[in-house]
Symmetry: C2
Subunit: 320 residues, 2 copies
Amino acid sequence: MTRNRPTNNGRTFAVIGAGAIGGYYGGLLARSGREVHFLLRGDYDHVRDHGLIIESVGGGFELPHVNAHRSTATMPRCDVVIVALKSVHNGILPAVLPSLLHDDSTVIIMQNGLGAEEGVAAIAGVRRVMGALCFVCSTKTGPGHIRHLDYGHVTLGEYTPATGGAGITQRLREIANDFEEVGVTMILAENLAAARWRKLVWNIPNNGLSVILDATTREVVRSDSGRSLAIGLMKEVLEGASACGYRIEQEIIPEMLKVTENMIPYHPSMKLDFDNKRPMEVEAIYGAPLRAARKAGLDLPHISMLYNQLLFLDMRNRSV
Amino acid sequence: MTRNRPTNNGRTFAVIGAGAIGGYYGGLLARSGREVHFLLRGDYDHVRDHGLIIESVGGGFELPHVNAHRSTATMPRCDVVIVALKSVHNGILPAVLPSLLHDDSTVIIMQNGLGAEEGVAAIAGVRRVMGALCFVCSTKTGPGHIRHLDYGHVTLGEYTPATGGAGITQRLREIANDFEEVGVTMILAENLAAARWRKLVWNIPNNGLSVILDATTREVVRSDSGRSLAIGLMKEVLEGASACGYRIEQEIIPEMLKVTENMIPYHPSMKLDFDNKRPMEVEAIYGAPLRAARKAGLDLPHISMLYNQLLFLDMRNRSV
């Protein structure tokens, strides 16, 4: 199982899921001539026939023909497999991943929240797993149609179960370079778990509050009450991170508030999922951090409350 | 100013506000032949022309003619003045109350939450003020039209700024007797503030969560996540009460959950206010208890979070 040994110049990509994240980043790679294979479900027919349309603040483009697959049976083993599903669908990964991997493949979990790498490591092996955090406002407006609204940089890190982080590897630099070449600003994380907790400082307040308050991120953060809620949640993310061994500086709180204030008025993906009665990523973004903190002996009451509110709404949506 | 000295058999009543509470209890008093004067605003024309209709699980009735007033100018001084406004309108009381009171009048604050008695005491004097807590599911379905759905008992207590409570007075017994005579089960509170905190054990979870989760009280308490939210909030009410000097036994929590489970699926008044874009009683039910606890040195994170969520929604509704 050592065929298709990658070279720096010819890495091949599989993208599982062509939504707001997989469609956007996979689309950028495909546009540059990289070999990119998309695994699709509901959108398969449309993307096979019409390809992808990427509207973007950075200049849009169309890809009338992409390698669209309905099943892994037609897909080659690839050098890089990007998991760009909603985390609520990670249950399909044990069936999907093995046939896409060769000995030196890397799996990149391009999802928010905590916990996905552990699950993929059990399937693919720890050494194959990376995680990516996308700081991007993008939305799938229809099958194969992505609207990129703001930002776009990605933090990439090697997975390790150790708290200390896996550091910067040669492989990490090379794959980051592939993304840089197609126009994505990349940040290399020495410690992926620490980076995931940092990302939660934004995701935990903004995803949940936009759902609960039926509001854009800007409306929330520009109101006294919404800002107070966001700050209370952010403080707890820092406490949770610290309990788990990851120190985040307090200054991130005003910085994140500033970023959100100046961002376009945005409905995070969780809000869109809720409005469209799709499952929300409640466990990855709230449940997993709460459990990690509790394991370290710390309760996070604001986050716990938001978690239960979102669970209530999610359960009701799922039972519709 | 000693005219109209009341007798046990002839107490006269003024009811400020004829909504779900004032219309129901005032209606019961009026039906029995008591002299009851209603002060109305938006519903004045309708109630003057058509009186009150009370649908009730305990047997409905109609009062085609009631003493309806648009202003205090046409109202006599009364022995008992029932404040049955939403607390958000208490700002009118300094203008309304003085002309309704004689030397021995009693003002009964028939509202949920904390803080209203202090304000009324500043207008009417501490010795004139009582508070009432209505354990009732009732709704105003239209002008002068009240639907009584479940429960109905009232806890009545003398106001005092002292933590120890004012005890049971002769006057308290007499006024309670007036209500008993028209079919209302009355509970006399030795300590009104303690009773108000006890009532908050129900109101704090149920009012806010029904708004935030867009759900009935039963849906909330019968789901795992909703129940967990309710319990977290209830525990904090007990902690806040304790910090302020009022001990509430832990057993109230399973009892209140049971009551709510077995109650009809109910939208508390705050939920109806929210849905109809009316101001919500956020300060009385959440702000005042939070401030009282904070003054005693205690933060209540779950309640604080719900408070800010409700403030956000309330501010948006008010700016519509």
